[in-house]
């Protein structure tokens, strides 16, 4: 059989083609190398942070992630390092950020790709991208000096009006200062809007003219065309954009540290102060030693693990949705 057992001549021909293009080989090694480099750096970060954090993991065991108390310098007994309160703060502030940023960003992106007059697009994009260029410490200072105080009456009003409603009332509990989960979430929302906007804008730009024409030719209005043709086509890309925004929100450090209030706290009340993992690290790293330092690095490991898990989950969601669209069987 020539197919399974090629003649020597055929083998030589195949080899020569494989060896012929030096450029291809160089290119192939280069791309493989850079790809592996990324993996190596990721692996190295994981290994070294886990090693540095080990004393804290060793002392706390699984309680490191299930314990809500964080007490590095107790009056008596051993220090307690529990990441749970801060993981909660990270999750809540990031979710609030997404809740506000995603609809706004998608709206801006749709406006820019489908509705805005051509001459408005360029300037609008520039302004939004400028928002991404503002250093996060500036957002933090603005948040603590301007936004937080300004929001106190708003929070108070919301509490007064909706505080009595079952379930919802627990989210809008008593108001202290303006430095709260909510304020952190809102500042984060502003910070991640540019990246979500610019990626969704690119994604909407890739929707084939043919898909839009198909909807329009059926008598769709512009909004019907967006819902029928643009959004389904863009689902994977939007999820990707949201994930990048979420990653940025979860990892944001200094802005959150300034506005979240700095309390070790798990509560449904969004108007209460809390803390996030990244914020705790930056607040306490300077004065830490020994196991305390290890515990802060441990927070970093937990944060890293959370982001990876969320990204994997998002991949699965996108792959499922795309398989349903493109594959044979729904």
């Amino acid at each position: 059989m020539t197919l399974t057992n090629p003649s020597p001549a055929a083998e030589v021909a195949v080899r020569r083609r494989g060896h012929g293009a030096l450029g291809d080989r160089v290119f192939s090694w280069w791309t493989l190398g850079t790809g592996l480099l990324v993996l190596a750096i990721l692996g190295l970060i994981l290994v070294t942070t886990v090693r540095e954090a080990w004393p804290a993991f060793d002392a706390m065991g699984p309680r490191f992630v299930t314990e809500r108390v964080w007490d590095p310098n107790p009056a008596t007994g051993d220090a307690i390092f529990g990441a749970l309160s801060f993981a909660y703060g990270t999750a809540v502030s990031s979710l609030i950020a997404l809740l506000f940023a995603v609809p706004v960003s998608v709206g801006i992106a749709l406006f820019l790709t489908e509705l805005a007059p051509r001459r408005l697009r360029g300037p609008a994009v520039t302004v939004i991208d400028l928002l991404a260029a503002v250093p996060s410490v500036v957002f933090g200072l603005w948040g603590i000096l301007v936004v937080a105080p300004a929001l106190v009456p708003v929070y108070q009003w919301t509490h007064d009006v909706f505080g009595g409603v079952p379930l919802l009332g627990r989210l809008v509990g008593p108001v202290g200062s303006g430095r709260t989960f909510m304020t952190a979430g809102l500042i984060l929302a502003i910070m991640i809007t540019p990246i979500i906007t610019s990626i969704t804008r690119e994604v909407f730009g890739t929707v084939p003219r043919a898909d839009k024409d198909a909807a329009l030719a059926l008598g769709a209005t512009r909004w019907e065309m967006i819902r029928g043709a643009v959004l389904p086509h863009s689902f994977g890309g939007i999820v990707g954009a949201v994930m990048l925004g979420l990653g940025r929100a979860m990892g944001e450090t200094i802005a959150v540290a300034l506005v979240i209030g700095g309390a070790t706290n798990i509560t449904a009340n969004l108007f209460a102060p809390g803390n996030s993992m990244a914020a705790v690290i930056v607040q306490q790293f300077g004065e830490s030693t020994g196991t305390f330092t290890a515990a802060l690095i441990g927070l970093g490991v937990v944060l890293f693990a959370m982001t990876v898990l969320i990204n994997v989950f998002a991949r699965v969601v996108v792959r499922r949705a795309e398989a349903r669209m493109k594959g044979g069987v729904a």
Binding site: R118, P208, A210, D211, K212, D213, A214, A215, L216, A217, L218, G219, A220, T221, E224, G228, A229, P232, H233, R324, M325, K326, G327, G328, V329, A330
Partner: protein, 287 residues
């Protein structure tokens, strides 16, 4: 007869228009559904199509042929205002549908497209299930209930039902090219337009799939008026009743414009063309 004046602005899609009466001096029997009168299309300052006049006869197939760049697709897209979304596109002259100008100020283009549907060159089903593709137009037109019946009827009329009835919930993108194109036709007829515009509907298909679409086009003339743009002269000869031959002309300023050269019954145009340019084209001397 019922007044035609507000046909377009009326939101209903189920209404089939009464016998058409056009006002222009008709060179053909007065069965035209649409009529182009001195239609020119500009893209910015460039005149893509110059002064075209022709009727579209009810329940017949009108073919538009001609070399690339002759403006035939542009003319087709003026018939349901699909050129609206192209920046700088401008139509002058009258595009009459039951005697009413589609480009008049009060006319809503979405209502025009509900009455005058379109099938495109490349099959373009939505990335949704077969069922949802057909139901899409019904849903946006506010059809509630008995959706299943409408979907089945449209797929049956598009000669696709038997092939897909057991997999309505699977993705339309898993169908073959020919099936996708028939699905696009089903999607178009589901909203019950009067006129169906087809822009080279077979150019991406193999000969067998093409034959099926051509057969389908013939069947559809029982209920619909069809305008088809095609690169394939044999196709025009096979499926159409009337043929319009367009060509590109270079004017004194060295600019190219699409122009209608000849509009005749198809057998006459292919056997006994009135214009020398038509003859040159159909005998393969240029284009």
């Amino acid at each position: 007869m019922v007044s035609d004046t507000h046909l377009i602005t009326r939101p209903s899609v189920t209404v089939h228009a009464p016998a058409a009466v056009t006002t222009s001096g008709a060179a053909f029997a007065d069965t035209s559904v649409m009529r182009l009168r001195d239609v020119s299309v500009h893209y910015g300052n460039y005149e893509a199509v110059r002064r075209t006049s022709m009727p579209i006869q009810r329940n017949q197939v009108t073919a538009m042929i001609g070399p690339s760049g002759c403006g035939k697709s542009t003319v087709l897209r003026t018939l349901n205002r699909m050129n609206d979304s192209i920046p700088g596109a401008r139509v002058s002259g009258d595009v009459l549908f039951h005697g009413q100008d589609l480009y008049a100020r009060h006319v809503d283009p979405t209502q025009v497209r509900r009455r005058i549907g379109m099938v495109f060159q490349k099959p373009n089903p939505f990335p949704k299930s077969i069922y949802d593709n057909v139901a899409y137009g019904l849903r946006i037109n506010g059809v509630k209930g008995r959706l299943d019946e409408h979907v089945e009827a449209a797929l049956t009329q598009a000669a696709l039902w038997d092939e897909v009835k057991d997999k309505l919930r699977t993705s339309a993108l898993a169908l073959s090219g020919g099936q996708q194109q028939r699905l696009c036709i089903a999607r178009t007829i589901a909203v019950k337009p009067e006129v169906i515009l087809m822009d080279e509907p077979c150019s991406a298909l193999d000969p067998i799939a093409t034959a099926k679409i051509e057969e389908l086009i013939f069947e559809l003339t029982h209920d619909y008026t069809i305008v088809i743009v095609t690169h394939n002269m044999q196709q025009a000869a096979r499926v159409s009743h009337h043929t319009a031959f367009f060509t590109a002309e270079v004017d004194e300023r060295q600019e190219r414009h699409g122009r209608l050269v000849e509009f005749s019954p198809t057998d006459q145009l292919f056997t006994n063309p009135a214009d020398k340019r038509t003859e040159d084209y159909i005998t393969g001397r240029f284009g």
